[in-house]
């Protein structure tokens, strides 16, 4: 079904899937009994209701929001850099945000705004460093150069974060920083959700409104310019929105890898490559992907599995499947 109407219908189906996953996640947990929470518990058990309202719901909201952001940012980076193999984890953005967060915890008192702000600044610096390094590398094509530069910048940041860990107070600060390295949403409260919401929502709105222009920005610069686009300026607007939203997400959830790389590819398989549909589909499917992984993280075992490990595992498997079946939907 290649017609645009058929693909728009698929976008609606994805919307349905979102509602189903959100509703389903509310009914999944380990209290009062493992896996599915019986409806009777919601009727008769005030503790279960309390738990759903104050622990499960904020966590579902956070997982969904963070998935939307990481996937949207991945889709934006891929189109703007005309590179199907990048996401925030490959461009120094996630590692920059984690470094900024660690720095704020150890040296800036660790308030929520300091952590988010510092994460955003270093995420932006990571992206800028990757981009300018890639332009100076004299090896391989643009896709390879950007990946190489991103790996180098990410590694530098990881080393710097390691030094901060070394200096951190092992009882108070170190557990907080270690949490970023693994990535997870345990302990998320409504307060956390409300702290990132006013940052994430405006950024997602900007990305959504400019979605069609992503197609223009994925053309060669001269061609985009001939179509009235100011490539440099428009890229900057989209990148700033994507990076700020990513930094906010990372400051709460830590490193949730592979979402931004794999989900946009899946979205393009489902609704086509036109960003007018591919971006909303990426946003929604990103939310679903992280939400489902987080459901597993909290219910699969009696203890919590770090979310970052699950997204990496499923992300890598899906990536390999697409790669081996040549279904990446891109020309390199």
């Amino acid at each position: 079904m290649r017609s645009s109407r058929g693909r728009s219908r698929r976008l609606w189906l994805i919307g349905g899937l979102v509602l189903l996953c959100l509703a389903g996640s509310v009914m999944l947990g380990r209290y009062p009994k493992p896996y599915v929470t019986p409806l009777s518990a919601i009727r008769d058990n005030p503790l279960a209701v309390n738990l759903i309202l104050h622990l499960r719901l904020p966590r579902i909201a956070a997982a969904f929001l963070i998935g939307m952001v990481l996937s949207a940012a991945g889709a934006v980076f891929q189109m703007i850099f005309r590179n199907p193999l990048v996401d925030s984890g490959f461009l120094g953005v996630s590692q920059g945000a984690a470094f900024g967060a660690a720095l704020a915890i150890v040296f800036l008192g660790g308030t929520a705004w300091a952590v988010q702000g510092s994460a955003a600044v270093f995420a932006m610096a990571g992206l800028a460093a990757s981009y300018f390094l890639a332009r100076r590398i004299r090896l391989g094509d643009w896709i390879l150069r950007l990946v190489l530069a991103g790996i180098a910048v990410s590694a530098l940041y990881s080393a710097a974060t390691g030094s901060i860990k070394y200096m951190a107070d092992p009882t108070r600060q170190l557990p907080d920083i270690t949490f970023w390295m693994l990535g997870g949403l345990w302990g998320i409260t409504w307060k956390d959700v409300l702290q990132i919401l006013p940052v994430i929502v405006p950024c997602l709105i900007v990305l959504f409104l400019l979605r069609w222009r992503l197609n223009l920005l994925s053309l060669r610069d001269e061609t985009a310019f001939s179509l009235g686009v100011r490539p440099g300026r428009e890229r900057l607007v989209l990148l700033v929105a994507a990076v700020i939203a990513t930094a906010a997400a990372v400051s709460k959830a830590g490193q949730i890898a592979w979402v931004g790389l794999i989900v946009p590819h899946i979205a393009r398989r489902v609704v086509g490559s036109d960003a007018q549909r591919a971006l909303p589909a990426s946003i929604l499917l990103g939310g679903v992907f992280v939400l489902v992984c987080d459901d597993l993280a909290r219910i699969a075992l009696s203890g919590e599995i770090p979310l970052g490990i699950l997204t990496s595992f499923f992300g890598t498997v899906l990536f390999l499947v697409l790669l081996l079946r040549r279904k990446l939907g891109v020309r390199t």
Binding site: R2, S3, S4, Q78, M79, R82, N83, P84, L209, L210, R211, W212, R213, N215, L216, S218, L219, R220, D221, E222, T223, F225, S226, L227, G228, V229, R230, R268, G272, S273, D274, Q276, A278, G329, V330, R331, T332
Partner: protein, 260 residues
């Protein structure tokens, strides 16, 4: 030719890609009349693509200026220019597999506000542009699944959806076989009939012979320009390419043969 008929004018244009670099163009002047087809002919590195990028406004000249409809480029808004000049690059690297119609729709960008997405009218115009190059049947096909010739025609359709008065084409036929080259030339002839002003670059004198006007470039300078039938002579071509050629006339058009 009266100055009133001149749509695109290049006056004393010089450009170099950086300090210390040799000039890519030196004192190039051209007047292009509305509704004509002009070929910029020259060997690789003669400055053809640079000239197109200067006319587009993508590059800024070190000296001289470009005028469109009697006004310097910077007296037009970016939007006006994008509705007036369309570009067909040598090849378009489309990283993500857009469908043909989705790609052609990108040509409607000059008519859309910053936050606007294409509507029914834009879709209709994109479909018309695709029809003009004879590829309506491929509207739903992925752009990655096209042959070289189809691809070049689709890129041309994207520029036509822009409804520009002037079309700039960079080596539009350099990778194509004879049949597809002929098809592109036919489409360009149709465009001319519809009043478009066309400027294309080529390194093949026989393709330049299909244009009304030929401009011969070498080392960033204009060696000769004028009606292609008289400009593409043995003397001019020898000084452009540095090798002897034989020109024979066939049905009033020059045919250029390389002399063994």
């Amino acid at each position: 030719m009266s100055a009133a008929g001149i749509l695109l004018s290049v006056k004393d244009l010089s450009f170099s890609y950086g300090p210390g670099q040799p000039p890519a163009l030196s004192s190039v002047s051209l007047d292009i009349a509305a509704g004509t087809v002009t070929a910029l002919l020259g060997p690789n590195g003669s400055g053809k693509t640079t000239l197109l990028n200067l006319i587009l406004g993508w590059l800024s000249p070190a000296r001289g200026r470009v005028e469109v409809a009697g006004k310097p480029l910077d007296a037009h808004t970016r939007r006006e220019l994008s509705r007036t000049i369309g570009l067909v690059p040598q090849d378009e690297h489309v990283t993500f597999e857009l469908d043909v119609l989705e790609y052609v729709l990108l040509g409607r960008a000059p008519y859309l506000d910053f936050l606007e997405t294409p509507g029914d009218e834009d879709r209709r115009k994109a479909a018309l542009a695709l029809e003009a190059v004879g590829l309506s049947a491929l509207a739903d096909r992925s752009i990655a699944a096209l042959s070289g010739g189809e691809r070049q025609l689709v890129i041309l359709a994207r520029a036509l959806a822009q409804e520009p008065a002037i079309l700039l084409l960079d080596e539009p036929m350099s990778h194509l076989d004879i049949a597809n080259t002929r098809r592109i030339l036919e489409v360009l002839a149709d465009m001319k009939k519809n009043g478009k002003t066309i400027l294309f670059t080529t390194h093949d004198p026989n393709l330049a012979a299909a244009a009304d006007i030929a401009v011969l470039l070498k080392g960033g300078r204009v060696l000769a320009d004028g009606p292609s039938a008289s400009t593409l002579n043995e003397r001019n071509l020898k000084s452009t390419y540095g090798v002897g050629v034989k020109v024979v006339m066939l049905d009033g058009h020059p045919v250029i043969l390389t002399r063994a």
